[in-house]
């Protein structure tokens, strides 16, 4: 047994982390809030250059041919800096979904070519976002080059110029959301039936896993900011971090985050290996990461005091992202229901 990432995987994560730490300062996140599309295009281009956007694109389609473990590590780094751009959507959801369509034996040739075209554009920086039936709104649909829509058992490539987008407003000003109204057309069909259902199920699991990874990164940032703040901020003549009440909030935050982390790593491993329990592992990861990040966020705000309760303090950038992502792709309760069903103790068993 060995439960750790390999050196080359950790080196990749460190390289992504270095790039993002340098490029995505809090000021850049604020810039995304103020912009129309919430995108940091220069960072997106650098991620493409580094290969991050093609991590899960097969080598023959111009990507790096890696798996869920590597992209999970990269998404922890995206979460850590609060990068708004849809790395999850393009690199972890759309890339393997399109690759599965291309590779599936029942995919008609026309659909396979359509999928291949978009798959090959991903490493260079095409933005492809999924529209899942469980969510009414889609992040960054307005800046997407293509939307993958799933409805009535059919998976389609949906041209953003052919759809009606109605803007919605996220509490996280960097996340530009829209409701997407689209019509299926025979020419845009990628897959249907059992194949489509399985593909979309795995895509949903990857979305939940990648979101868990971002939540871990956000949690680490909020905790680190708070440790730094309470070590410097003085009240009653001493750093507030020397008070036990503050210490215990932050120790509990560390505890929750430290035990959610291996759950996310394990889910990345079993998803990558196509393990039969992978969906249960993903749900455990998303449930724990959502709860942990929310707990860290709450402790961070409390320990920052009134200074944290302002938009001048950077904390709110990460806190609001945490709120957004904790409920995306199944919130903690939804995922615990799915774990309960897998364990045979869901009394209302309807979730599959």
């Amino acid at each position: 047994m060995r439960f750790a990432f390999e050196d080359d995987q950790l080196e990749l994560a460190a390289a992504v982390g270095d790039l993002l730490t340098n490029e995505v300062t809090p000021a850049r996140v604020r810039e995304a809030w103020a912009s129309n599309d919430g995108r940091l295009r220069d960072v997106w281009a650098k991620l493409a250059d580094m290969g991050v956007l093609g991590l899960m694109v097969p080598e023959e389609a111009g990507g790096l041919g890696m798996g869920e473990e590597e992209v999970t590590l990269a998404l922890v780094e995206c979460g850590r800096v609060g990068l708004p751009d849809p790395v999850l959507s393009s690199a972890m959801v759309s890339a393997p979904l399109l690759a599965e369509v291309v590779a599936h034996e029942s995919t008609p040739e026309a659909a396979a070519s359509l999928a291949r075209i978009w798959l090959e554009r991903l490493p260079g920086g095409a933005t492809v976002v999924p529209a899942f039936p469980l969510a009414k709104t889609v992040a960054f649909a307005d800046s997407a080059d293509m939307i993958l829509g799933y409805a009535d058992g059919e998976l389609h490539v949906v041209d953003p110029t052919s759809v009606r987008l109605s803007p919605e407003r996220s509490v996280d000003g960097a996340r530009k959301l829209s409701r997407v109204a689209w019509q299926p057309h025979p020419d845009t069909l990628l897959s249907d039936g059992d194949a489509a259902r399985e593909q979309i199920r795995r895509a949903w699991n990857r979305a939940a896993l990648g979101t868990s990874a971002q939540l871990l990164g956000l949690g680490e940032t909020m905790l680190a900011m708070t440790v730094e703040y309470v070590s410097e901020r003085k009240q009653f003549g001493v750093p507030v971090g020397s008070f036990q009440a503050v210490k215990h909030h932050l120790a509990d935050a560390r505890l929750a985050l430290s035990f959610a982390t291996p759950a996310v790593h394990r889910a990345a491993h079993t998803m990558a290996g196509g393990h039969p329990d992978a969906h249960r592992d993903v749900s455990m990861a998303k449930a724990m990461a959502s709860e942990a990040a929310a707990q860290v966020g709450r402790a961070a705000l409390q320990c920052h005091g009134a200074i944290g309760y302002t938009t001048e303090c950077d904390l709110h950038l990460y806190l609001k992202r945490t709120w957004a992502l904790a409920s995306r792709f199944g919130d903690a309760r939804w995922h615990r229901r799915r774990v309960a069903a897998a364990l045979g103790i869901d009394p209302l068993s309807t979730v599959s």
């Binding site: 439960f3 120790a251 491993h269």
Partner: protein
Amino acid sequence: MELLDTPTEAAFRAEVRAWLADHVPAEALPSGDTSEGFAAHLDWERTLFEARYAVVSWPEAYGGRDATLWEWLIFEEEYYRADAPQRVTQNGIFLLAPTIFEYGTQAQQDTLLPRMAAAEDLWCQGWSEPNAGSDLAGITSKAVRDDEAGGWRLTGQKTWTTRGAFCTHLFGLFRTDPDQERHRGLTYMMVPLDAEGVTVRGFTRLDGDEGFAEVFFEDAFISDDWVLGEVGAGWSVAMSTTSSERGLTLRSPGRFQATAERLLALARSTDQLDPVLADRVTTAWMAAEAYQLYTLADVTDVTEGRPPGARSSLNKLWWSELDVELNRLGLELAGAEAELDEGSPGAVDGGRWMKGWQFALSGPIYAGTNDIQRNIVAERVLGLPRK
């Protein structure tokens, strides 16, 4: 990353599982924290020793199998899955032995370890004193040098000594330099409890078992052979033991996973399971699973030369609160019958949840209360200011 057993590990697992299936007593033994139960547990310890399963991770020369940390985890997982008896020898083999391996002389290792493995010597801890609980450095029991006799004379009192009334030996800290305070001037000593001047008085714990003792020393003599490590260096010697206690060597994940599986079985057999309880059982099951995963990551770090350090305080917080929650949920599933105690004929699962609940409640208290652990995490893991 590889989360499956290697072929060697799988073979070891199969061997352990088969042996346990053949040897674990069908009837649960009476509690090892009572005098009759303790005797029954000693027979079991000797059965384990004869099959060389008492101390799998120790060298073969001392009765072990030179098992890797992975194999030790596998052994523990199978042990708890088989619902095998509680280990009444655990304080010796898990807490004292690592310290003897690290600090003991060759002679101490050769004499003490085989007898400990065979459950011939039974060890209890002597840390706490009436006025030194979480604040261990406040101990006042003292040892005065007796040059003529070549040893030390002990005076003072230890208390809350688990299974002290049934054990043969005690290990703990004594103040050897009266001019030094707190962490300085302490020495790690081992004491045969039949020495003249030692009195052991058992008393009853919250769960009704006579599992505690207070130990009085009135000018009790021990020879120099019973000093572990350097005179005056007791604090750092002891810290290697307490980090074992807080960390993974005492509370292996298999124990909590087995309890979580029993909880699941109880939940599955519950008519009209309450959805809120189902949610909480799921949360607790995930916490047990997460403890296993955290341990696997820790063991990987340890075997690859990255020591866990103060992170062991995170371990202790997690498993001790997990254990409380698992047992509380067992009681909630038992409903109106929750109060039926162990051995009561109508008790759900033989009353093990009430027993487990009371035992679990000690977890957040012993080995440094969880309140102290949170300070340690804040100061040593997060780096917050001490004052």
